[in-house]
Amino acid sequence: MALSREQLAMRVAQELQDGFYVNLGIGIPTLVANYVPEGMEVMLQSENGLLGMGPFPTEEEVDADMINAGKQTVTTITGASIFSSAESFAMIRGGHVDLTVLGAFEVDVQGNIASWMIPGKLIKGMGGAMDLVAGADNIIVTMTHADKHGNSKLLNECTLPLTGAGCIKKVVTDLAYLEIEDGQFILKERAPGVSVEEIVSKTGGKLVVPDNVPEMNV
C-alpha cells in the first residue's frame, strides 16, 4: 500500500535528531511536526523570522503579529526567538538549519528539484524555496512517486523550471525512500506491501536496486 500523507510524515520524522533546527515546508512537510518522537527536542524555523514555532493558538491567544511562513496564526515555544527576514535567510543560506523538508513537482538523478512553476499556469512565485534548497546540506523532499496520471516525478532530467540545481540527496515518496548519488537514484526502503517491481515501473530516472530493500518502519 502506498503511504498516506500521515505515514509519509512519520517516515520523514525518523530523520529528526535531538537538538535539530528544522524548516518544514507547506503541505505534507508541515505534518512532520506531529510526529516528533517523545522526549526529543527540535526547534522549528519559519522563514518569515521565527525560530521555535509552537502549535496553533487557542482562540484567546490569536495574535495578528504572530504568524508563520504559511501566514497562519501560530504560537512560540519556550526558548523561541524572532528576527528579521534578512536574519532568517542568513540562517537558511548560511547552512545553520539542520534539516529542511519540502515538497516538489519533480526531482532528477542530478539532485535537481522543480517545485515552483508550471509553464502555462499562473506563476505565483518561489517564496523562500530557492533559498532553502540552496542553503541546506540536509534536505528531504516529500512527494508522491508519480502524478495523478501515473507519470513518474523521479526523472533523469527535470522537465519543469528548476528551484535548485544539484541540491537534493534524499527523497521520501508514498512508495519508497530513495537517495541520490552519482547521477542515479538508489532504492533504500520500500513502503510496506509495495513491491520493488512497482517502484521500478514508476521511477523514470536511473534507479539502482540493491539486493535487499527493506520495508519502511511506519
Partner: protein, 232 residues
C-alpha cells in the same frame, strides 16, 4: 520638526514628495506588519507608475492590493504574489509587470541597498530561471549568481513602538522585512502604534535606530489576519 524629532502630524505630510514613477520599498509579510496608513495615503494621492518592492502584494481589497484598484502599480518586485485576483488579472492583461525574486535574495537586496553594498553573490537561484542572464562566479568550487541591491525613493515601514527620535521596536513576526526596508529608502517613513519620549525605550532593545528614519507617524491598524488557524 526640530533636532532629531521625526514626528509628523499627518499621512499627507508623511508621504509628501511621492511622485509618479517612483520606487517604494514596503515592509510586511503577507498582511502581517504592513504599513497600512502609508498604503492608504498612496491610494488617496493616486500616484501612478509605481514600482513597489515588497514580499507580497496584499490581498484583494487590503494591503498593497488596494493600489491595484486604480492601477497605480507598474511593477512589483516580490517573492510570492498568489493571494490576489486583481493582481492575476492585471498581470495576465499585461498591465502589470512582476519581478519574482527569491525571498532571501529580496531581503538581502534591501539589506545591501541600505548598507551601501551595490551587489552580492548568492547560490540561491543558480541553475534556475532566476539566474538567467546574471553573472556567475565560482567560489570554493560552488557557483553563485550576482544579485544587485535595491534602494527606494521611499521606504514605508510598520513598527510597534518608537520614540520621537525614530528609534523603532517591532512586535513579534510583524518585524519581517521592515528593518531592511527602513534602511533602504532615500526617505523612510515609519508608522507605529505608539510614540514615546526619547529615553523611554531601552537602547539595547532598538531594532531600527533613528538614523534611518526620516518621518514618523502614529497610526491605527486593522491588522487583518490572512489565515486564522486555532487549536481547540
Amino acid at each position: 520638526m526640530s533636532g532629531f524629532n521625526k514626528v509628523v502630524g499627518s499621512y499627507e505630510e508623511a508621504m509628501a514628495g511621492l511622485e509618479d514613477g517612483m520606487t517604494v520599498i514596503a515592509g510586511g509579510f503577507g498582511l502581517c506588519g504592513i504599513p497600512e496608513g502609508c498604503i492608504a495615503q498612496i491610494k488617496k494621492m493616486g500616484t501612478k507608475e509605481l514600482t513597489i518592492v515588497s514580499n507580497n502584494c496584499g490581498v484583494d481589497g487590503f494591503g498593497l492590493g488596494i493600489l491595484l484598484e486604480d492601477k497605480q502599480i507598474k511593477k512589483m518586485v516580490s517573492s510570492y504574489v498568489g493571494e490576489n485576483k486583481l493582481f492575476e488579472d492585471q498581470l495576465l492583461g499585461g498591465e502589470l509587470e512582476v519581478e519574482l525574486t527569491p525571498q532571501g535574495t529580496l531581503a538581502e537586496k534591501m539589506r545591501a541597498g541600505g548598507a551601501g553594498i551595490p551587489a552580492f553573490y548568492t547560490a540561491t537561484g543558480y541553475g534556475t530561471p532566476v539566474g538567467d542572464g546574471k553573472e556567475v562566479r565560482e567560489f570554493d568550487g560552488r557557483k553563485y549568481i550576482m544579485e544587485e541591491a535595491i534602494t527606494g525613493d521611499f521606504a514605508i515601514v510598520k513598527g510597534w513602538k518608537a520614540d520621537t527620535y525614530g528609534n523603532v521596536i517591532y512586535r513579534h513576526t510583524a518585524q519581517n522585512f521592515n528593518p531592511m526596508a527602513a534602511t533602504a529608502g532615500k526617505i523612510t517613513i515609519v508608522e507605529v502604534e505608539e510614540i514615546v519620549e526619547p529615553g523611554e525605550l531601552d537602547p539595547t532593545q532598538i531594532h531600527t535606530p533613528g538614523i534611518y528614519v526620516d518621518r514618523l507617524i502614529q497610526g491605527t491598524f486593522e491588522k487583518r489576519i490572512e489565515q486564522r488557524t486555532v487549536r481547540a
